[in-house]
Symmetry: D3
Subunit: 245 residues, 6 copies
């Protein structure tokens, strides 16, 4: 089983880290292919960054289709381009935010989210509402660290995330914490140990959900509104998408 | 990894069938232990049957705890006793209704449910609302077959389920169908082929979710409201539960 | 009119207290029969306790059916076994949580709940959501007293409940408080006087709702999903339930 | 106990009928005082009629306050002026729509409403949403009869209501029907017999809820947003309301 | 285009102020006619005041209909009588609460409300829920100033409003503030400058929405439930409304 | 006032048509600049098309910023890239779906949507839920015409839209219809005349809302989560976005 873990930003170090985290939990027969788009932002911290990165997600899914990919994972907590990606493949496509939410509800009655920057909290709020998990989440919290600090300033970032998780544990009346950034995938064990609460991380959660769907023979439904897009002309820098190429 | 698949009713034939369906999708290292309570109803088709069967579920989880069980599955579509079961183990406990709902939302934007008897529809409606999936489900449908007809009258039951699924496909503007009874676990492939739509079945879905959680080291949170019950005295036929025995 | 007030736990002292509280508000023609199951937990403070106590509730309703009971009250704030109980009788069955919620909305726009242990708050939250009262309730609070402290340590328990109620009054922007445990039924007057806010207590509320329904000739609907369960075989310790016996 | 049943329209025949229906279900010690405003519409079939009738409701509550009234009932299905009425008395005030909704949820899992004119359906929809009962109601139906036809053309009106109730029973997957007009209060028994389903009627429901609250010593909360209005000057035709007169 | 801005209370000074605020933002071709009822309360601070003021609103719309009015604005934050007013005209009718909510969602993802007295907060909460904006509003706050202090004690009132807005800015994680009283219409610029956040004020918002609808040829739908009320008899002080006069 | 109406697809004929429709309702001082991206799909009929078109939207807003644009309109019914666009400007940005929903709720209590292809219905459903209008919309309908048929096959397309609108009028219990595609902007008058119901069209609605916000001095909040994106590096085909260029 080949699972393509797409880091929607272009920071190769983060892609590598995410790929390693995914590989650590993958089943024996699962081959993790971690990739990131050549085009896009170095980190995703706004709706603007998300909108741009969705194109990269699409390109990476298209690339994956040429390689007989069995499942896709979108490793950014805003799940950018999720429904678009689903439309262009029969394989399952899993966002790491949804993956974390699903699993968190299986082991706790209520959870909180600890994300990077406060301004991205609204993205999590919108996803919670759209997916149906709003009432399972007590609070969206931010450690107020830029995403790339997870790469460049790891020790400090880890401290701040743990501090915020401990505040969530003390104040939020929760059973679990969801980590709100793909770049935290390698920190799960450390955070979990320091906080003493189940920590649900999206990349690893998504790997298992992807394996689950493939094992069950379940792919993205091609009946109805996730069917392949109608072929049509694209112009300019998107001409390469014309007619379902 | 040992997964105990608990059929909350006492019909051994159904337990066997459910166990086989679970085993067919289990990962190589997963050992499926299918069991049912010695005490309880032969089928579950009402809130009354559910309430009684929850005791059996609890007993089976307690039995499982003596055998170092890694995860539990409750193989009745009403998820009877789910939160109670979670309280008495550190292992994950997955209901087949929630399992099916979770996976269905990953491969379609909207689904319908096809269950056995119309009177159990309200159980599904309550679960959809509580879990947060109400707006993902277009319609709860019933094939109007008693649960045990799945055992005793299989061919006819299958026909009626397929007919109802085809109506759902034609009328409900959906991308997937959730099967609303653990007793349909062995029919998934046939239904799927006949209907031409992704069919999400809860027993098999739950096996993969259980394996996923175990692989990630995630068990039921013991912080907060799913912690072990406070030990206390039980009397009469439940004396064996006293003081957390 | 005979109203059976079922204390779902087995603590006879609490049953007596609840029965007295019920009798104090009962109409002249109403006969209050307070009972508790012979089998079950001494107190209900978890989903686990609730699941077990639901069997006792069912047995007590069955016992009541032999005595021409006109209405049933389930005197535990989690309303355990409520829908199951409704299925096995034509009489109305009222849970004390729902009763308190209904009446609280008639005299205030928003209320808070003060319950015993924090871990049971989730039970109240789930009921509020399922019944439709989530937006009427500002906050679920706990006095952090075990249920049996209401029996054994009454003065201290009362103090802590009053303290929590006063905090609710000061902080929650509410018009009324709902007491979140059947064991508080005898404290309503004292709490009300100390707090200076309408205090809605479920046992007494349920008595009046039960009388109301009986007076109107309204019983549990036997059309549709609350109809009597289909008769069937039960095995083991539940064999006595076989075939609708 | 004195209960003032306020018919918000000015049709004396309907007031009388409503008063009789209320008296038939009142407890021995309850004195039903049926009244209607001198000023207002002969029937209430629109938001416009409702807005005007709210003034009459207020006047009738003010009149009741001079007569030591213990509880008020607003006998129009839109519950016009309900919160305003609550502000000017310590007594409980019950609307017949809310009363019917509350009791219907105690005896069924889902109900439908059968009202008079289709155009008033939106009023019921808004109340269902505001009160929290939207998900308990399957459908709002109209017999398409003007309110006063219930007075002037009773036999035909009854036929049409029964027909619509039978359609609801056949099509809506419900356990009970709520009658959507105070003017149907005298028809409950006939409709119930013809339809074979529990029929919840608001006037009679409200009488019992009012008696319930009074018996429990629960009145409208004067803490917070239902407190008496701040005294102030009113001018013109409302000068008589000045300074809390 | 003639826009009638109806101040639902009878304080002429406030009417004038509201009219001026409306005129300042009106388009060149728009004629603002500010009026208030002759009958009604001097300020609106409760459901009671609202219910009475709705009659004045209706009278003012009726007066407007004689003068070929193109649109109506109800300049009280509870939108009193809104649906009733819509029924009696083909022109659009805009409440200032809804107007402010609509525009606030176009420039921010989340907003808070700062109103006058805490007791009116529930009115805003009900409107948010009914209109669908509940999840866009973080918090309803009150400066705890009586409405007429905005007239008589302007400087102090302004200070308290600004203070509360600054608290909202600091604590509520919002992008904009909605002012919760028509009497604040002249303070928008000062508040905006002092707070440094977009301040959405309802009177001015409603003027632009009214102009928008008129320019698009969109008036209140007369198809369905906002159609003109059925003509009928009114008695007493409302006789003048008889038969659609 | 300069309003840039961005057609997110690349079909120049549709851009022109949309621009003309916008100009017809624009205020005298408003300059409508209709544009479309050079890169992107010729029509938008899927999540995939939407994701790609969001880039074009962003480019067009960036272009508009160089020309001192006062407000932006996104003329595709899925509001693609809406929040991203808001982040990169102080000017207001209005999507035509939200614009139509807002205005439809001001003139009716319930509306239906008539869109092009059934598969895009889910996009409307998601927007209704996210914006808060789900309970105002009775039904999302499709005329089942590809978007470009509005250009190439206008007469037939118009017929099918009118037919679907008439079905909505007859069956949906609504007061207004929202047209679900920017490409219908020029058909509003014809549809309105043929259907006899208020028809709310998003492009024209958005023009008036944009003018409204500008007149009130309200732009996208730069406090909090719609603030300008943090400058950062973009690579590949998006390098031109680096560092907030």
């Amino acid at each position: 089983m080949k699972i393509r873990v797409i880091n929607p930003n272009t920071t190769a170090g983060m892609t590598e880290k995410i790929g390693e985290a995914a590989a650590r939990v993958a089943a024996p027969g699962s081959l993790i292919v971690a990739s990131n788009p050549r085009s896009g932002p170095v980190s995703i911290e706004s709706h603007f960054d998300e909108a741009i990165s969705a194109v990269g997600v699409i390109e990476e899914v298209r690339a994956g289709e040429l390689e007989h990919t069995d499942a896709y994972i979108l490793a950014c907590f805003g799940d950018p381009g999720l429904l678009a990606a689903r439309e262009i493949t029969r394989a399952p496509v899993i966002g790491i935010a949804e993956a974390a939410f699903h699993l968190a509800t299986l082991i706790s009655t209520r959870f909180s989210i600890v994300t990077t920057l406060g301004r991205t909290g609204i993205i999590a709020e919108h996803l919670l509402q759209s997916y149906g998990f709003a009432h399972h989440c007590r609070r969206v919290r931010a450690a107020e660290i830029p995403v790339l600090d997870l790469e460049d300033n790891g020790a400090l970032a880890l401290d701040r995330i743990i501090d915020e998780c401990l505040r969530a544990k003390a104040e939020d009346n929760i059973g679990a914490i969801v980590l709100g950034c793909g770049g935290m995938a390698d920190l799960t064990a450390q955070i979990s140990e320091a906080v003493g609460l189940p920590i649900v991380e999206g990349v690893t959660a998504a790997v298992k959900l992807a394996e689950s769907l493939v094992a069950l023979g379940l792919g993205t439904s091609k009946h109805g509104d996730l069917d392949f897009p109608r072929p049509k002309a694209f112009s300019g820098r998107f001409e390469f998408l014309s007619h379902g190429q």
